[in-house]
């Protein structure tokens, strides 16, 4: 069987607000294997986004360990995290989170800037990626000139630009109608199958969960149930 690419081991995340302690994650343990498409499913406030941030090296846990490709990232510095994040993780957000002052092409090129690729290499790869999400014709448009679905496709292209092993999608279709949402999901599915990307998706929409190989049910900061989608 394939090796684990991500492993969360008894992860706690506690937010202190004044003298109230909010436990967003309570001993979350989760293993994700290379090439898997996993959906983390749970109600609002269950800690899905918090878990994603941990996996995505955006934040470090209050307690517990997180292994990314066998490396414990729970205690790394911000700068090291940024580097790992840029190389191994691609983010897709609910709000698309594109930079509005840059064109679609420049948005896709941007992550490669931080990894020190040449301008030519960046441009060539960005054009290829935009072509893959059927947006080659729109590459000079600003995000504000694109529809929600198109923006999310730009975001998908951007998430792939540094050829990361893992793609994290936090409610990628949350701001889209169901038809557009399905199209985005098809893209993610293709990324998973053709490009062999590990995809972790967060959702509270049962209908999207069916795209995944495996569904992890999260409630109050820990996994309560795991369901395999059999063959798909």
């Amino acid at each position: 069987m394939k090796k684990a690419i991500i492993k969360l081991d008894n992860v706690w995340k506690t937010y202190t607000m004044g003298n109230v302690k909010v436990h967003a994650l309570r001993g979350l343990s989760l293993t994700i294997k290379d090439g898997e498409f996993v959906c983390i499913y749970g109600p609002s406030g269950s800690g899905k986004s918090t878990a994603m941030n941990m996996v995505g090296c955006l934040d470090i846990p209050s307690q517990g360990d997180i292994f990314l490709k066998g490396k414990n990232i729970a205690h790394l510095s911000e700068s090291d995290l940024a580097q790992i994040r840029g190389k191994t993780i691609g983010f897709i957000f609910q709000q698309f989170n594109l930079i509005n002052t840059l064109s679609a092409l420049e948005n896709v090129m941007l992550p490669m800037v931080f990894q020190g690729y040449s301008e030519q290499a960046r441009r060539a790869r960005a054009i290829k990626l935009l072509d893959m999400v059927d947006l080659a014709k729109r590459m000079d448009h600003k995000p504000t000139e694109l529809s929600g679905g198109q923006q999310q496709r730009v975001a998908i292209a951007r998430s792939l630009s540094n050829n990361p092993e893992v793609i994290l999608a936090d409610e990628p279709t949350g701001n889209l109608d169901s038809k557009t949402g399905n199209k985005i999901m098809d893209f993610l599915r293709t990324m998973n199958k053709k490009e062999k990307k590990t995809i972790i998706m967060v959702s509270h929409d049962q209908s999207l969960a069916k795209y995944a190989d495996r569904i992890e049910y999260l409630r109050d900061g820990s996994i309560i149930e795991t369901k395999n989608n059999g063959k798909r």
């Binding site: 955006l58 580097q83 989170n97 930079i99 540094n162």
Partner: protein, 400 residues
């Protein structure tokens, strides 16, 4: 990208830069004018050499060339007495007569200045450093011949330029123009009408007084001693006590130094004022940058999420801020140069003299530009640091 972000927030950027460009404009124009004034004053005296003393009668404040209109003029036999003082090579009477100058049927004002004859002519020529652009300089035996200043080549004075060989009327007496001098950059000389002493006294009348006595000393290192002796002699001759002198003995070089130091002080004062406005501008930039960091918190989060290190975020805002300063500086320099030359032009047309000349050096321009960039970066230091320290998760959650 830093540049692009500026473009997006035009109005505020411009407002922010206002402080910077007012400051820089003030520095450039005033320092430029100051340098110009310095050059103008230096050339105004026309005398060169640190071995010259000028004696003039003092009294009521008067308009016009030095030494005219004083209540108790210098009598012209003083020169001979001064010449006897040890260390004096020559003492030359210089007569200045104002009158009318007519050419091309138009009348204007002319200051006729005497040029001494004989050996003194050589000394004087060396002192004044005159050169002819057209024709020749005056020589002994020239009667009703005049040597004119360079400004008469300008047709605005008499409707057409005067050239050597033309005839002009000085107080209705016909003179031939023997030559036109090269430009000196000094009102006194560029407007001058030079006539040999004998002819000047013959045509304008000799009342036994002179306007300036130019004293050439033999050894310039002993000029102070000679100055004292001349003063002593004049006090005796004119029967005045120490401290009540109605004359002045000065060396142009010394006066120049004094004026330059005053000018320098004025320039420093201006520079300090401008610096204050630059500091205010810097604070403005800092404020804008703080707002900008806050506004773009989400963007910072995005950048971090796609792998930007803190260093990159810092640099982004730091350079943006420096750039803000630089653009302000560029506008300021352009404004300042325009202002300096505009004022100089105004001065020329209103006063009709080259007294004020703008002179903006490359060093001043580059100095101002790098200075404004540095101010921008300094102002951006803290906001940029703050931006770089933002936590990616919090930044991403930020909603405008």
């Amino acid at each position: 990208m830093a540049v692009r972000n500026l473009g997006g927030r035009k109005l505020r950027s411009w407002l922010t830069m206002l402080g910077i460009f007012i400051g820089i404009a003030a520095v450039v124009s005033l320092v430029g004018m100051g340098e110009g004034l310095r050059i103008a004053i230096t050339s105004q005296f026309g005398f060169v050499g640190s071995d010259v003393l000028t004696v003039t009668a003092e009294g009521l404040a008067t308009a016009g060339p030095p030494g005219t209109g004083a209540p108790n003029p210098l009598s012209d036999n003083l020169a001979a007495k001064i010449e006897k003082i040890p260390g004096v090579e020559a003492a030359i009477n210089r007569y200045l007569k104002s009158g009318t100058l007519e050419f091309n049927n138009k009348q204007g004002l002319g200051f006729a200045m005497s040029v001494p004859e004989g050996d003194n002519r050589k000394i004087m020529m060396k002192m004044l450093n005159l050169e002819a652009e057209q024709g020749r300089l005056l020589k002994d035996g020239d009667g009703r011949k005049v040597l004119l200043g360079n400004s008469y080549l300008d047709k605005s004075q008499f409707g057409k330029p005067i050239s050597s060989g033309d005839y002009v009327y000085l107080n209705s007496i016909k003179y031939q123009v023997i030559g036109i001098m090269k430009k000196k950059g000094s009102f006194l000389f560029d407007q001058a009408v030079l006539v040999n002493t004998k002819q000047l006294l013959a045509d304008f009348g000799d009342d036994g007084t002179t306007n300036i006595i130019a004293v050439k000393v033999i050894d310039e290192s002993r000029i102070d001693k000679v100055k004292e002796d001349v003063e002593k002699l004049l006090r005796k001759e004119r029967d005045v006590k120490v401290g009540e002198e109605d004359f002045s003995v000065s060396s142009p070089e010394q006066t120049l130094e004094q004026m330059n130091s005053v000018l320098g002080a004025v320039q420093w004062f201006i520079v300090i004022l401008a610096s204050i406005s630059l500091v205010v501008g810097g604070i403005g930039i800092m404020n804008t940058m703080y707002t900008s960091v806050l506004e773009r918190t989400k963007e910072i989060g995005i950048l971090k999420s796609i792998g930007a290190r803190n260093r990159v975020i810092f640099l982004l805002f730091f350079l943006e801020s420096g750039f803000l300063g630089l653009v302000g500086g560029i506008i300021g320099v352009i404004l300042g140069i325009t202002l300096a030359y505009g004022l100089a032009y105004l001065g020329r047309t209103l006063l009709g003299a080259d007294l004020i000349q703008a002179s903006v050096s490359m060093g001043l321009i580059f100095g101002s530009l790098s200075f404004s960039f540095v101010i921008g970066t300094l102002a951006g230091l803290l906001p940029a640091y703050q931006a770089s320290r933002k936590h990616p998760v919090d930044a991403l959650r930020f909603i405008k």
